[in-house]
């Protein structure tokens, strides 16, 4: 027998997969083409990979932050819902969100005169600037409205002399560097730095996989801000699909269905997910979520 008679089971190359464990029982995996960036800051491990199906993805401490292919959903829904509820949003503060996606959406509103990004970890910003311009290009250009502050938001919000029309808490999960952003003291300071009709919106976890974490955050916001609403969207890369944002603020804002159609028309060609209908629809909650949050959230008035 010759060597040439022996057939090896040859693959062209090994398959590389990024596995994101949502918990001990569920894992979402993305096939990756290559690792573009991997380094540690004082706060976390920052990794950017190029995936076969979802474009470039950012992982902080192994948790998926964004994928190029579907990041528009998260970023449009965290930014445009409060910015279209507010009658005239001018001064905006984005906390976290070093990838730039939320700032990019905020800057689409012509009324905005200043958008401050307060990110604790410069490494996230620099890595995204280099590898994910789709979200981070807005942090590179010389838009005079953008003000980048590399600071701990808990300290920043205490000391800032400014008031904000919308504060967007675009944070990762309540572990690691973002943990204090899920605290009562932080939301007391946030509320104190809102303008008269100011709004605050925050990443509020999964109503299904992280029910307890969601409830806990809403309790904190309600206690510090007096009231809280919640709205949902579907993420295609986070585990479990259904995801939420918490919304609160000063004044008599109406959570659902108050998108300013005239202002929306000026943005229409630039949006891939958000519509006036999707805005209203997002405040419709499934029965199980309503039950879990009963007495805690303001009911959405739209029938």
């Amino acid at each position: 027998m010759d060597m040439k008679d022996i057939t090896f089971n040859q693959a062209e190359q090994i398959e590389l997969w990024a596995h994101e464990k949502a918990n001990n029982d569920l894992c979402v995996s993305f096939r990756i083409k290559e690792t573009l960036f991997s380094a540690s800051s004082a706060y976390q491990r920052v990794q950017i990979v190029d995936t076969a199906g979802y474009g470039k993805m950012l992982f902080n401490d192994g948790i998926a932050m964004l994928a190029e292919r579907d990041e528009f959903i998260y970023h449009e829904m965290i930014a445009h819902v409060p910015l279209f509820i507010h009658p005239d949003p001018k001064n905006i503060l984005v906390i976290g969100g070093g990838d730039g996606g939320t700032v990019r959406e905020v800057l689409k509103h012509p009324s905005v005169t200043k958008c401050t990004l307060c990110e604790i970890d410069e490494l996230v910003i620099s890595a995204c600037k280099k590898h994910i311009p789709q979200t981070a290009a807005c942090l590179c250009h010389d838009d005079p409205r953008v003000d980048i502050q590399i600071k701990d938001a808990v300290e920043f919000i205490k000391k800032t002399g400014e008031l904000y029309d919308v504060i967007i808490v675009d944070s990762s999960d309540p572990i690691g560097p973002a943990a204090p952003l899920f605290g009562a003291a932080f939301y007391a300071d946030v509320y104190a730095h809102l303008t008269e009709r100011g709004l605050v919106v925050a990443q509020a976890e999964s109503p299904f996989i992280y029910q307890d974490e969601q409830k806990c955050l809403l309790e904190i916001i309600k206690k510090q801000c007096g009231r809280v609403c919640i709205y949902n969207f579907t993420t295609l890369t986070y585990p479990g699909g259904l995801w939420s944002f918490a919304l609160s603020g000063k004044g008599d804002f109406v959570p659902g269905g108050v998108c300013d159609e005239k202002r929306l028309r000026t943005l229409e060609g630039e949006l891939q997910y958000y519509t006036a209908q999707m805005h209203t629809a997002a405040f419709s909650l499934p029965v199980f979520q309503q039950k879990n949050l009963a007495g805690l959230i303001d009911p959405c008035p739209v029938e």
Copy 2:
């Protein structure tokens, strides 16, 4: 050195995971406690596993069909949207859906006098009856309204002498035994067997991961039935989260926001996802899906 001085890296037991590859690039994995059932029929491999996080799950040919923990979302949305749009649904046909979840929801409507289940694969029914009573118990009990037909639906719908108020195509994907259920000839026969104001609803894949498949199915339904609408829901176990149902029918049905509140109140304690608001909200489509399906789907009239 004694053997007792050597420390082995001991785990209590091996971890078992069920990996479901949505395509070559995305995989969702569930940690399993044990395999409860695994056998092949003439049509497919049927497997039921008990998972750590999602209860019992049914896989046909390796594709997740349902998980106990979130199946209520799929089954409530496929059944109650058409049954609440129809003014008086009496005679219902469920095609596929051998797990029983859709039949269970249909039977909650007091107006229903008959619910026929046409499932090609008896193995799915018998396996679910034994291992997933949460969905299949309704197929065991002696509800005189339930009529189980173990038949190829393509043949059944051709030959049936009955007309149906609602036909629910609760099928798996367009590969394997369900492939003919995505065909033009099938939908011509379905349409011919609807009552005057009859409706047909069909599992319509993911608007994101399976855009082309969704568009193709909608084109077939529109051609055979004259018009087609689409509505979305979030599945927590299917890959990619966002999922759709196609809806068509005879008569001048209005897709969104026409839930009969009085009838709904009689079911309220039995529902975990569906509300009148969720019904309307489901017809709100993100921009990218509207663009992909422009000219094909009836726009939802609700603003």
